[in-house]
Symmetry: C2
């Protein structure tokens, strides 16, 4: 590896290795997001699809298929499928969260309206479904149908878990497995299935995606409190203001003194938040070491992801997937 | 047929003939709308599923399969699939239309919130998808994937067509084919496909469902203006207030004098509606005979639906489907 390559982030190196496949995926996405009758659809979709997302999920599918020696072209369809499902959930999430910004741009629900976001999301789900049917693999359809149900279930669970101090680490894991890891694990698993590899390798790809997704979401939740630096940054505290119970908070609530518990009850359950509350919440998390403990959990999941790769053939792509797992948690190192 | 049977509506007779199958469908729906992790899901779904809908769409699937001599049990899964897709679209429609009532009860978005309606709708789509994968028929999956895309496309097209006087009969047909007929035609078509009948019969079932769905929606739109009686009733004028361009209005706009055109521009395009405008709109439609012309079109689609049945084996179910087509338009006779 040259110095130049070493300086690149794993996701950029993955993107470079998979560039021809990724171009085919992007072309397919552009073709399939069109609608003969309803020009609103490609407008809304393009706003999101072309906003420069990292295309992490479709790359996972491409990498898994190639790693397993796949030579056909269904992996391109599946990668586009996965990106469409992801885009559809983003559109619906922004309606649910009443978000105003996504990837540094105004959200579709703000630029158009909630109606368009709901219906265009539905359209992209249907489009993803058409794409996967084209692969002709019932196994792939089964995996993606189950993933879709798990995603929606995780999102609904998150709704009812928010603002509820009884939310424990078990519920948190179910929520993030649903809202994030289910699509990661389906993305890698279908890559192996389409390549026709043995069951232990399919299972390894599933475990890799699942663990990577969990690590990714834990880190995301940690970054919402500024990572482990406990310095308040630009986007710090969104989850706090939305009264979402993420891992560092859940751990702090579990260790809370009676007075601290009263604080959490006021800011999370009652939603009565005042000047300085975010800083106090972060001080409590630092006092109980829950930011570090959360980071340790993310590291353990990344380790689990890397360990799963050992079943798979050793090659450049496998190394890149291992580096990707390290990179995902390095964001809070 | 006894006098007692003759007095029953075709949909009630269909329901009686298909009762054992329909019980199996209802049991399957109850099992599959459950969620181990998110109790909110069955709460929201039950509110809608058990509100006493007519179950017209799943009955179409059951009738089509039985009519084609099907003896297996996949038709039950497909009927539940179709009902789940329908319920999911109702949940999302109520968010999009900001509706407060559905089937005489407060809507889910009002009882819970828009978030729950969006996410539980997504969950039901995913559940429908799992059910259809269980049939193991790629042809069925293809039909339902295409129908899902057409439904969403029709809904988005309706969004952009509303409040736009350029909406013509061609656009209207695309909208209602999407929002209503696509699920009717998929419902009947998959019944034939699962029964393994010849292509001409599958096509006949598609045509029956498509034409029935179009007739059904035209009549629904006509009933929103009180049918052909031109008497203002309890729910008259919802489409007018929402500035939706339905067939009787589109036909009246096409025949409008310059002064009438100004009126339509004010009430539909500008949304400046005043006391007496609905009555004036209905008077204009009566003057140009567009209510009657719309009813004629619905009758023609019902005739087309009945004609399509001639390819199929003659039996009690076929007669019931023919009666159903008559009944759908009889609502405005």
């Amino acid at each position: 590896m040259s110095l130049d390559q070493a300086a690149q982030k794993p996701i950029e190196r993955l993107s470079a290795v998979l560039a021809p496949d990724m171009e085919a995926v992007n072309a397919l996405i552009r073709r399939r997001m069109a609608s003969e009758h309803a020009p609103r659809i490609p407008e809304v979709t393009a706003h999101l699809v072309e906003a420069g997302g990292k295309r992490l999920r479709p790359m996972l599918t491409l990498a898994a298929a190639r790693l397993c020696g796949y030579e056909g072209d269904h992996h391109v369809r599946l990668a586009a499928t996965v990106e469409f499902i992801h885009t559809a959930t983003l559109l619906h999430d922004d309606v649910v969260d009443e978000s105003a910004q996504r990837r540094g741009r105004p959200t579709a629900n703000l630029l158009w309206d909630n109606k368009s976001s709901v219906l265009v999301g539905d359209y992209l789900f249907a489009r993803s479904f058409q794409l996967m049917v084209e692969t002709g693999s019932l196994r792939v359809l089964d995996i993606l149908a189950n993933a879709s149900a798990t995603i929606a279930e995780g999102e609904v669970l998150q709704l009812s878990a928010a603002q509820d101090l009884r939310t424990d680490e078990g519920i948190y894991l179910k929520v993030i497995r649903g809202k994030t890891a289910a699509l990661f694990s389906a993305a890698t698993e279908v890559g192996g299935v389409i390549a026709g590899v043995a069951e232990d390798k399919v299972q390894a790809l599933h475990t890799y995606g699942d663990s990577l997704g969990i690590a990714f979401q834990i880190v995301d939740d940690l970054l919402d409190y500024g990572g482990t630096s406990a310095v308040i940054g630009k986007n710090t505290g969104d989850d706090f203001r939305e009264r979402k119970l993420t891992l560092p908070v859940i751990k702090a609530v579990a260790k809370a003194t009676p007075a601290e518990r009263e604080f959490w009850r006021r800011v999370i359950e009652k939603g009565d938040q005042r000047e300085g509350d975010l800083e106090h919440a972060m001080a409590l998390m630092a006092r109980h070491g829950t930011m570090d403990a959360t980071r340790e959990e993310a590291l353990a999941w990344a380790q689990k992801a890397k360990a799963a790769l050992s079943t798979l053939p050793h090659c450049e792509l496998r190394d890149l997937l291992a580096d990707l797992a390290d990179y995902v948690v390095a964001r809070v190192n």
